[in-house]
Amino acid sequence: MKRLMGFIITVLVLTGVMAVTTPGLLDKVRLGLDLKGGFEILYEAEPMDIGAELTRASLQKTAESLEKRANALGTSEPEVTTEGTNRIRLKIAGVTDEAEVRKKMKEPAVLTFRSAAEGDAAGTYSKIEMVGSDFVEGAAEVQRDQLNQPVIQIKVKDKDKFAEITKRLLGKNLAIYLDERQLSDPVVQAVLTDGTASISGNYTLDSARELADTINLGALPLKLTEKYSQSVGATLGKQSLDQTVRAGIVGSIIILIFMIGMYRLPGVLASFALLLHTWLLIAVFVVADFTLTLPGIAAFILGIGMAVDANIITNERIREEMRSGKSILSSVKAGNKISFRTVMDANVTTIIVAAVMFAFGTGAVKGFALILIVEIVLSIVTNLYFAHWLLTLLVKSGMLKKPKQFGVKESEISAL
């Protein structure tokens, strides 16, 4: 009786949790561009100056500045990632003027040092005194002054030019701009003749670092070339998603009906484990902030197939043990034990395949492999451990006494 209560409580609590949380979770699943519309561009970056070297840091900085630009253009949740040593992948959803965004994105980040020209409003500067390439690459760094305040040390290539500018602008502002965004407007405190300067102000350590990085990036601007681009209309993406989800639901219902019709009460348990498996997968998507794309759906289907397979293997094995004349309990025990090994070997082999794909693949292949791995691990937990435990609990509680409840006819059982 205690076992039966344990079984009922487990099932009820889990059903409740799934029923309550599922709508909220589904809303939070991040959809890929192929499902919600938008466009994706893969850039290849190379230094503007021939012969200069592309560093990991400058690629990272360029990616960050792309993201800032995309944000500035008012797009929703731009996604910018670096790939390999020289690539940046940009994903933007919900853009109305695609051509404009593309053009803006491709322009290299321009770092300028500017002074106030006549007619400039207070606090804005338009006369360009120096550009990014006037600075020594990678020389900007954060130091601390006597008061332990963070300052930014910079180095210029042309001492004389810098001396002339600082002389002319002594006591005035020399503002730092990235594109049209003002980063800082320090005042020139002295005529600087040795080609180095330190910029002080009310910087925190983080903001000082940020500025130093930006100057270094400006000193080595990267040229971006579009290597691949894909755009999906918002309605087209939505349509794909709706159709795919509907296809998935119809397929799932048929699979569940099949499982229950075929294996009766154990089939109901297997279906429950399958639902739990799917729910956990959605939860992982939300918690780990994965993006659901078409390859993800493919991995999802394969995972469901393998999860169903695990249940079929278990139940077929239990039936087989029963037909050989074993009691219900020992059939279930033996069936669980043997099928566990079978399913583990099959799953581990598939995980190996997926792990190699994840390690060596790129883009879609990587995403596919990751979701497959997650799903197989979840499947082992739900469709092996959990489903086996539930079935054993039910058998021990005395609810499953007859072979008929497993879909086995008495006539098929051979005398032991």
Partner: protein, 300 residues
């Protein structure tokens, strides 16, 4: 036993070996002669999307296209207030501006989106996927050799490559379009194929533990028995996975049609190869280890 008449899978597999070999040769021939019907993902060129204020016909558009004096004809797809022009060559700036000017003459409210497609990415993804599969095969060989034995590993790899190649062949023979999602479909098929094969091998391994198999006949009976014992499971699993892929094909969107089709074909091959290719192949390999009854020296 459930089967009144035992099916001789090993014997049947002879015909299926022939079937698979014929299909493989056909596939190689088609691939060598016609190649694959690649979608735009794999072809370099310029893609011009024009949204218009009215519908226009190909006849209206033709003079505008002719005026560019390009060496090749683009393919044109007309839509509701839209037209898509796809060039197999990359248009340079002057050409695309001339094209825009010409079409603007037809409709002064036309707006353009010109994408240049670089095939390098798609090709790299495909190449990368192939390398990954080959590397994964090494992983399978190592794991299966440890848990089972190398003969199982080899047979499983052959079945897996067979399934992947069959789908590629079918797509080549029937000129079905191959896009980027096709790569993912083939990877899915490989995942399914290895899972399906290992389950049957597990049963062979289990049966090997009971009793000694002295002759080829013993081994053959053992393979037949193992396949028969797992047959219901194989059919049920194939059925359920097939259902999932089939509904994706029928109800899923246009954009994943080819993907779903590749899955449906591949899953059927995956189930087929585990029974009729992988298991008999293991037997063939194992036979070399065990002397067969016929070749065994006759007793005096």
């Amino acid at each position: 036993m459930r089967f009144k008449k035992e099916l001789d899978f090993v014997h049947l597999s002879k015909y299926f070996f022939i079937f698979s070999i014929v299909l493989t040769i056909l596939g190689v021939l088609f691939l060598a002669i016609f190649g694959l019907n690649y979608s735009v993902d794999f072809k370099a060129g310029s893609n011009v999307d024009v949204s218009l204020s009215k519908n226009i016909t190909t006849e209206q558009l033709q003079p505008a296209l002719d005026s560019l004096n390009l060496s090749h004809e683009p393919s044109i797809t007309l839509g509701e207030n839209r037209v898509n022009i796809r060039y197999d060559e990359v248009l340079d700036d002057t050409q695309s501006q001339a094209l825009q000017a010409e079409i603007t003459k037809l409709d002064d409210q036309a707006s353009f989106e010109i994408n240049t497609v670089d095939t390098e990415m798609a090709k790299e993804l495909a190449r990368n996927a192939i390398y990954s599969v080959l590397l994964a095969s090494i992983g399978i060989i190592i794991y299966v050799s440890i848990r089972f034995e190398w003969r199982f590993a080899l047979a499983a790899i052959v079945a897996l490559l067979h399934d992947a190649f069959m789908v590629v062949s079918i797509f080549s023979i029937f000129r079905l379009e191959v896009d980027l999602t096709f790569i993912v479909a083939v990877l899915t098929i490989i995942g399914y194929s290895i899972n399906d094969t290992i389950v049957i091998f597990d049963r062979i391994r289990e049966n090997l533990r009971f009793g000694k198999q002295k002759t080829y006949e013993d081994l053959k009976a053992l393979v037949n028995k193992s396949v028969a014992q797992t047959l219901m499971r194989s059919l049920y699993t194939a059925f359920t996975v097939f259902i999932a892929a089939f509904f994706l094909l029928v109800l899923g969107g246009e954009s994943i049609k080819m993907f779903s089709l590749a899955m449906v074909i591949g899953l059927l091959f995956g189930a087929y190869s585990s029974i009729f290719i992988a298991s008999p192949l293991w037997l063939l390999l194992k036979k070399r280890q065990k002397p067969s009854t016929k070749s065994a020296p006759a007793k005096a």
